[in-house]
């Protein structure tokens, strides 16, 4: 699509739903336009990471609380449905729902423990929680099979009355399942952020003392956000293990949390689209680098690109593009819809 066409469409905005609809069609059609199964595999990973990044962004971007233990909720979600499906033979979709619930409960526990004090305390408690859960997964051999992990996790399947059973064994169907879950996650974030709830979260991030003075119960909002965020990470976890059909304590690796933080910060924290864009770019980037450079250079180039992104776009990719767009295609103020927390791009003076 040429830039001028897009500009005209946005300037008048006759059909505000047109852009999202087109993006939706392109995404749903991906199994048919992606050249092969390898690309589809990357698309599935990007979708799972997009859910993770959105979940972390709820806390980090909107309330300003950094969870360095987000891999714990990812792993709890993964292990819950894996164990229910493998040991108890429960239907996978029931296990998946319970995985989301279990991760949410863990989020509640951590939130209640640490969000009264928040800030550094929350960072430390979430980090240690991830360490503890990982140790349990490694050492409780009877339940988790320890570091060897659990192979043979069933794929999700639904029984359609009259049509028989449909299983999500193919990459095409699994991609659509992940895409649907990512869309639901985005919808949840959108609803929360553009509401009284989201405003309270942003108020706590921006100026907690003042937020309390006008009646915002800080701890309550932070705990509820932690529950939603953890539940969403749990959903990503359960999608991940039923895709790879295997789970091991590696799911709790700190590097997963770091990847999430990178995606949120580089994409643009405190924006709805930032984590999605970050997740897509930083899932594709390592694969591209693997194709074009030798092993030794991969991580080095990845690191340099990350540093350059943060250095030149300190607020992230999405706010930078949005700010540039506002300058190129000025619209009347009435049409500009501001989302709580989506700050005007005020570049710090350099």
């Amino acid at each position: 699509m040429s830039a001028s066409v897009a500009r005209l469409a946005l300037a008048r905005r006759p059909w505000p739903w047109l852009g999202p609809l087109l993006v939706g069609i392109v995404l749903v059609a991906a199994p048919w336009w992606l050249p092969n199964q390898y690309h589809l595999h990357i698309a599935i990973q990007a979708g799972i990471f997009a859910i993770l990044a959105m979940s972390l962004n709820l806390l980090l971007g909107y309330t300003g609380q950094l969870s360095l233990g987000h891999a714990a909720f990812f792993g709890i979600g993964g292990y819950t449905s894996a164990l229910l499906g493998k040991h108890l033979g429960w239907p996978v979709f029931v296990g998946m729902v319970l995985a989301v619930v279990a991760a949410g409960l863990a989020g509640y526990l951590i939130g209640r423990l640490s969000l009264r004090l928040r800030g550094a305390y929350f960072v430390l408690v979430s980090l240690s929680f991830a360490g503890v859960v990982a140790l349990i997964a490694v050492n409780w051999m009877d339940l988790t099979n320890g570091p060897l992990g659990l192979p043979g996790i069933p794929e999700p399947a639904i029984a359609i009355p009259g049509l028989g059973e449909f299983s999500f064994r193919s990459k095409e169907s699994y991609y659509l399942l992940v895409l649907a879950c990512a869309a639901v996650s985005y919808f949840v974030c959108h609803r929360l952020v553009c509401s009284r709830f989201g405003r309270a979260c942003v108020a706590l991030r921006e100026n907690e003392t003042l937020a309390q003075a006008v009646g915002v119960n800080g701890t309550r909002y932070l705990v509820v956000t932690a529950v939603v965020s953890a539940a969403m990470a749990g959903a990503a976890g359960t999608l991940y293990v039923h895709y790879t059909r295997f789970v091991s304590p590696e799911i709790f690796l700190f590097s997963y949390t770091v990847t999430m933080v990178v995606m949120v910060v580089a994409g643009g924290k405190g924006t709805l689209l930032g984590p999605v864009v970050g997740a897509i770019l930083f899932t594709i980037l390592p694969e591209v680098l693997r194709a074009v450079t030798s092993y030794q250079w991969q991580m080095l180039v990845y690191g340099i690109l990350l540093i350059l992104t943060i250095f030149f776009l300190p607020k992230g990719i999405v706010p930078a593009v949005a700010g540039w767009w506002r300058r190129v295609a000025p619209r009347p103020a009435a049409a500009t819809r501001t989302v709580a927390g989506e700050a005007e791009a005020h570049e710090p003076a350099r």
Binding site: R199, Q212, A213, V224, V228, G341, H346
Partner: protein, 251 residues
């Protein structure tokens, strides 16, 4: 009598920030707290609004104790404050700032918000209208879509008052609202305080600008070294020997 402070005591180490302060602030009146720097005025604000807990004494509002409540619970009881240092939500728009102030006027919880529906949309529309009304009252309607952090200082101070008004206080505590304002801005503030009072909102004001205080107050309380040294009508307090001593020294 609306707000009643009785024998408040609060020490920070060896310093008695409040050493037995008692006074009353009547509803529908403007009560001003004056006194030199370090007299305990802001500490008193912090105790009344739940940011600090007194070691002794009692704060009662409409016959219910406020001691031990957290700041958001004090706000729920209709007591809202502003801060001495400029305090807004800098990264969001002016309208969003006031919408945050209107937090207690809404009731949608997380589940209602996720479900959406007509009730939530209606509440949102109602809050937006209320926010615009508050902005019109303080004279910031033309700034509604600007980012709060980009406003000039004087307008940020007005926005602080707008945020507090959003919370629909029955008692509004203003901590040095005129500090740093130029003459025009100060006149606008005085007019605004008059309009707030016309709405039946009681005001407790901490302010160093004596002309402003003496011009608008119904009742003035002078603090020095954590104690009330004088109280009464502005004209009486102005010439009270203890007040003059507190400000000028006894040399």
């Amino acid at each position: 009598m609306s707000l009643r402070v009785d024998d408040l005591m609060l020490r920070f180490g060896g310093v008695a920030a409040l050493a037995g302060v008692s006074f009353e602030a009547a509803s529908n009146q403007i009560t001003s707290l004056i006194g030199p720097n370090g007299a305990g005025k802001t500490t008193l604000f912090n105790v009344v609004t739940g940011y600090l807990r007194p070691q002794r004494g009692e704060v009662r509002y409409e016959n219910a104790s406020l001691v031990g409540l957290r700041p958001y619970q004090v706000a729920e009881r209709g007591i809202v404050r502003t801060f001495q240092k400029t305090s807004v939500f800098p990264a969001v728009t002016v309208r969003e700032n006031v919408l945050i102030g209107l937090h207690l006027q809404g009731s949608s919880g997380v589940l209602a918000v996720l479900r959406g529906g007509r009730r939530v949309r209606e509440e949102e529309a109602r809050l937006r209208q209320a926010a615009d009304e508050v902005l019109a009252l303080v004279g910031l309607a033309h700034r509604a879509d600007d980012v709060a952090g980009a406003l000039p200082y004087g307008e940020q101070r007005l926005l602080e008052v707008a945020i507090a008004l959003g919370a629909r206080p029955r008692l509004l505590l203003l901590d040095e609202p005129a500090a740093g304002l130029n003459t025009g801005e100060r006149q606008a503030l005085i007019a605004l305080i008059g309009r707030i009072r016309e709405q039946g909102i009681a005001i407790l004001l901490v302010e160093h600008d004596m002309r402003l205080v003496m011009g608008i107050s119904d009742h003035v309380v002078c603090l020095d070294h954590g104690q009330v040294v004088a109280r009464g009508a502005p004209a009486e307090v102005q010439v009270h020997p203890e007040v003059i001593r507190a400000y000028l020294g006894s040399g």
